[in-house]
């Protein structure tokens, strides 16, 4: 068995990397902080045109019928660019969820979401806010084990500011309607799958964020001279950067393994396989979150005072790390889940 990404998966990653290098420089992330969403909207349209958002949609719905495994490298690139937008919630959670529900709901929404004509927002239990709820054309919300499709026009949404101001969460006040999309065992299974996917997709993004923070810090430590030498030649700096490199290198295979487990569908049907997948996802999220947080902390310290300034781009990435490390279960919650499964 060949446990490596295929040439095609690498090509898709490279295509996304090129798109984001041109369309999503730091200035676009910064503009999103100030409420100017024209840049992020263009990035979103580019990702839709390319086929990223519909990657997990079936071909009948204009997608590519690919899996979590194919999306993992792409999400890491999106994290590396700190591209704003609910890509995990849409491409990784909502699209497979709608496909699983099937019927007219999938037929109506999946093609439109994949092509960027409509936006869908997903509210998962445990998250107080629904990312990009305002501006969505459809809300997918759980009430206990019942999944509801909710028209945003019929609810009240209060936009809340995140520590990462390019992320816009909405507090949704709603009442469940009489006809849920799924209830009981089916609803719970869909929720389990959605939670695993959200955690894994976020872990893949955290890897990219951490990698970018390491890269810019290595560049800074090489360029910045003090006492006649680059600061990166001092052990106090280089050991910190080596620790970050090690943490990211150890987290990466865990993310890839979890993606592999999730992509092998039976994991979500068979009970013992489901537990194994859950452990893999938790290991990935805990390790990627820790590694990215370490990268953020050391990046800030190695940059010195300039890293603290609002005008420097470092904090755009750092605060995204803080937001994502806490989303869909922080490292502590995921470690507890691993402990429950293996002890």
């Amino acid at each position: 068995m060949r446990f490596r990404f295929t040439d095609e998966q690498l090509e898709l990653r490279d295509a996304v990397r090129d798109l984001l290098a041109n369309e999503c420089p730091a200035s676009v992330v910064r503009a999103a902080w100030e409420g100017d969403m024209s840049g992020p909207d263009k990035v979103w349209a580019g990702l839709c045109d390319m086929g990223v958002v519909g990657l997990m949609a079936t071909e009948a719905h204009g997608g590519l019928g690919l899996s979590d495994l194919d999306l993992t490298l792409i999400l890491t690139e999106v994290g590396r660019a700190a591209a704003p937008g609910p890509l995990v919630e849409t491409a990784v959670v909502a699209v497979p969820l709608l496909e699983k529900i099937g019927g007219s709901v999938a037929e109506t929404w999946v093609p439109r979401v994949a092509q960027g004509e409509s936006r869908v927002a997903v509210g998962l239990p445990g998250e107080s806010l629904v990312l990009d709820a305002s501006g969505a054309d459809l809300l997918l919300l759980w009430h206990g084990d019942a999944l509801h499709a909710v028209d945003p026009a019929e609810v009240s949404i209060t936009v809340e500011t995140s520590v990462d101001r390019s992320r816009r969460g909405g507090r949704v006040a709603w009442e469940p309607g009489p006809q849920p999309l799924a209830v009981g065992e089916e609803g719970r299974r869909l929720l389990d799958a959605a939670l695993e996917r959200a955690a894994l997709g976020t872990a893949a993004m955290l890897l990219g964020l951490g990698r970018h923070l390491l890269d810019v810090t290595v560049t800074y430590a090489t360029d910045r001279h003090q006492f006649g030498v680059p600061i990166g030649s001092q052990q106090a700096i280089k050991h910190k950067l080596a620790d970050v490199a090690v943490a990211l290198a150890f987290a990466e295979p865990l993310v890839h393994r979890a993606a592999y487990s999730l992509a092998r569908g039976p994991a979500l049907v068979d009970e013992s396989a489901r537990e194994t997948t859950a452990v893999h996802v938790s290991m990935a999220k805990a390790a990627a979150g820790d590694a990215a947080e370490l990268a953020a902390r050391h990046a800030l310290q190695c940059h010195g005072a300039i890293g603290y300034s609002f005008e420097h781009d470092l904090h755009l990435w750092m605060k995204r790390v803080w937001a994502l490390a806490a989303a869909y279960g922080d490292a502590r919650m995921h470690r507890e889940r691993i402990a429950r499964a293996i002890l």
Binding site: E8, E11, A15, L19, M50, V52, L55
Partner: protein, 253 residues
């Protein structure tokens, strides 16, 4: 409408560039589609789609894997002819034009041959004109827009002052200025489909050419001279006059 696009695969300009002992550029590792060619590919795709029929064929000469050609195929080009031959190492512009012309003649009927104004690694800017001469076709350069109508190609040709409106009989060779259109990004479907598109790999002998030597070799390569230190002027209240004098000397004002 069948359109041929001459494209070049080059080492990534963002990476380190190294020279061989004979002063030619090292072309090892993954080659990418020259960005300046992506504009010609985009224009060709638009012309094909507007016409509603025909094919876009890529013509290229380079060593190595066709990784850059795959990018253009993923953008939507229909097929490619790739001339790969170790004997072409260090070929000069005229020899390159001869090879491309021979490849063009194998490509069947066509209305236009599109090329970039110049490549990002060689910058000779002469190959398209040489190609037109060898093929005996009209050569129109620096196009910012191209329209084919009534057996003629109509080109808005960029000049320093604005643009000229030029027309020529087809087939013709037209060079496209970088930045005149926004090249599309390859879609995932395009990337996956590109693998199945026809890609013909040819050697010089397949083209019926005998090209083992050429007149031009790179004798030496020198670094660009470093910037000389500027002149410092103490402002005694009249320094602006020196600035005015300098600008006048440079004919800026």
């Amino acid at each position: 409408m069948n359109i041929l696009v001459c494209v070049k695969q080059i080492p990534d300009p963002a990476g380190p560039q190294e020279l061989n002992n004979d002063n030619t550029l090292k072309r090892e590792g993954k080659l990418i589609l020259d960005e300046s060619d992506s504009y010609g590919v985009e224009i060709a795709l638009q012309l094909r789609d507007t016409a509603g029929e025909g094919e876009v064929t890529l013509i290229s000469m380079s060593p190595g894997e066709p990784s850059g050609l795959r990018t253009a195929l993923a953008m939507g080009a229909d097929k490619a002819i790739h001339v790969v031959d170790d004997t072409l190492h260090g070929a000069d512009a005229l020899s390159t034009a001869k090879v491309l012309a021979a490849a063009v003649q194998r490509a069947g009927d066509y209305t236009l041959v599109i090329a970039a104004t110049e490549s990002t690694d060689g910058y000779t800017g002469t190959v398209p004109a040489q190609l037109a001469e060898i093929l005996g076709l009209p050569s129109v350069t620096f196009a910012k827009s191209i329209r084919v109508e009534g057996g003629k190609v109509h080109v808005d040709r960029q000049t320093e002052a604005g643009y000229d409106v030029v027309e020529a009989d087809v087939p013709a060779v037209v060079t496209v200025t970088a930045g005149v259109v926004e090249p599309r990004y390859p879609s995932f479907k395009g990337i996956m489909a590109a693998k199945k598109k026809p890609l013909e790999t040819l050697a010089v002998s397949d083209l019926g050419l005998d090209l083992s030597s050429w007149g031009q070799n790179i004798v030496s390569v020198e670094d660009a001279p470093s910037r000389a230190a500027g002149e410092k002027i103490e402002d005694d209240g009249e320094a602006y006059l020196k600035i005015v004098e300098f600008l006048e000397e440079q004919k800026v004002i």
